[in-house]
Symmetry: C2
């Protein structure tokens, strides 16, 4: 190949700048870090030399001596999930404003590899944001001391600050909405059973059913993505429910798709709700009734807490966002059946 991929010249080092400016390394370092008072003529010469050479201190060397990398890591279970994409986005935005870089690690839904992945990421930076919904409490507890400073997303611990969503509240609102429409037999297409967020939805369902004996909710095994929703169609039809609560919007969309293939009309034959209100929920056929979650805020707030920790400040209290339900076309009156 004709195009060389090796940088033409190695980047200049601090000694090059010192030599060119005719001063010591220490002086260059001082000038460039704007610390102590330096003779202004000297400072000028240093700046001039640095500029001419295109010098910038090696972040690697600085990090080693300073003990700080100006980088934070985020571990997510699936970068293909709009929720984690939004978290990453919020995180990146807040981190970069504070001069921090972001290292991203995708565990590809493999809870087994998460501890190692998190540790590896953590060792190359100053702190970590962990989105590990399926990691066991024991593993998390064992891991956290080595990960600190760390912030948790969607799970709580007394060993680290956290930001989460009140899934229980969201599911209660969704159930109230469906009940109001006259639905009495409802299916819940569940998510990953090990996840705290699935447990929270279940708890909400139990609480609601206890208060409303006339309502029956049956669980249909699901998952967290399109395919899981699509595959749950059999179970949903078998349940004879008039409405179904899908674990999240992705599952709801997969279900919508499978239902449409079978000629089942939504919401005339069955109502469907999602969860999260991802940007595309408004554009499905029919548009999805769902519980809106401020997903990007999850990322910014997690970053805020981690940055506080890194700055030696006390992080804000743990926060739990209340979803707000958004009624669209996928839910309708049970009597229409």
């Amino acid at each position: 190949m004709t195009r060389s991929q090796i940088p033409a010249t190695k980047p200049p080092r601090i000694s090059d700048v010192a030599a060119r400016a005719g001063v010591s390394l220490s002086t260059v370092s001082r000038v460039l870090n704007g610390s102590t008072t330096v003779d202004s003529a000297m400072a000028d010469r240093v700046h001039e030399a640095a500029l001419a050479l295109g010098y910038a201190a090696s972040p690697l060397a600085r990090s080693l001596v300073l003990g700080a990398t100006q980088t934070i890591a985020v571990v997510v279970p699936d970068l293909g999930n709009p929720v984690f994409q939004a978290v990453l986005r919020g995180l990146t935005s807040t981190a970069s404003r504070a001069g921090y870089h972001v290292l991203v690690a995708d565990s590809f839904e493999s809870a087994d590899e998460e501890p190692e992945l998190a540790m590896a990421a953590r060792r190359r930076c100053d702190g970590i944001v962990l989105c590990a919904p399926r990691m066991s409490d024991e593993t998390l507890a064992r891991l956290l001391p080595a990960l600190r400073p760390a912030v948790l997303v969607n799970r709580s611990s007394d060993a680290a600050p956290s930001v989460s969503v009140d899934y229980r509240s969201g599911i209660l609102q969704l159930l109230a909405h469906l009940t109001e429409l006259g639905h009495r037999t409802i299916s819940y297409v569940s998510g990953a059973s090990a996840a705290e967020s699935d447990a929270a939805r279940r708890a909400g369902i139990r609480a609601f059913v206890d208060d409303h004996p006339e309502v029956t909710v049956r669980e249909v095994p699901g998952g967290v993505d399109f395919a899981a929703g699509h595959g749950a169609a059999d179970g949903v039809q078998a349940s004879e429910a008039t409405a179904v609560l899908a674990f999240n919007d992705l599952v709801a969309m997969g279900l919508l798709s499978a239902l449409s293939e079978r000629g089942v009309r939504v919401p005339q034959d069955v109502s469907v709700t999602g969860f999260d209100d991802i940007p595309f929920a408004a554009y499905t056929t029919p548009p999805l009734t769902t519980a809106s979650v401020p997903v990007e805020a999850l990322g910014t707030q997690a970053a805020d807490r981690l940055l506080a920790l890194l700055a030696g400040r006390a992080p804000d209290e743990d926060v739990s966002f209340e979803p707000v339900i958004t009624v669209r076309g996928s839910t309708g009156d049970a009597l229409q059946r």
Copy 2:
């Protein structure tokens, strides 16, 4: 706060392992890097000590001495765009399989800050993948030598390998499809005018119109997201076109939404096409006819090339993916009008 966020103990250093195993630093390093032959009894002692101490070499220190960080960076203009999300996903998957970490930098559509952002990211890692559709050729040419090794996404250069999409071909296929349906007056809702991918679409349109004098294509200023598509509805209606080519799926979805609000039926009143075939394009109302782009492959192929460069191998030839059009419900016969 009761929960300390400072790691209980500083991580063990190589000297701790050496002391515990009763050997020199050099020996520990050799054993752990599996290089030269070492006495097996000694090696055992070292491994034992390392395990007991939970030792892992500081990536920072290793990077400094080795001159390699095992990290690659990716710069994207907008992490909220499904296309770049997919690129990131593909990249992360390939990189992690090769033992590389990924640093992600979002320029938030600010072309001005991209050079600095890219440089800052590049300095902390071994190579970079650049998605900078709006950066000027001059800036790119100036930047590239300092960024190398680098791989470009969706723009070509003789100074770096690249992977891209043949937008021209995709737009030609879309136009052929619409023309076949009888459409003669078509609107093109454009993207960012500085982007090479927009220029490629324009070139396709010009070529098509040259060959098909009976077809007229008028340009309506657009953008790259939902809002841009929504805002283009006025222009589209004013153009009296029977079909519209949206810059991408996001723009198409925004347009679909605005059209629906105005009571314009798709595809009865006007046909709409997108571009990219993002995962949600199949779920819009109506489902979107679009040109499918193997967007995750863009990321994996970019990573492959960068990893080749880093391994001192010759990267594969530049690749240009041919979109394949996927006809769904948003396009229909022009005669239905």
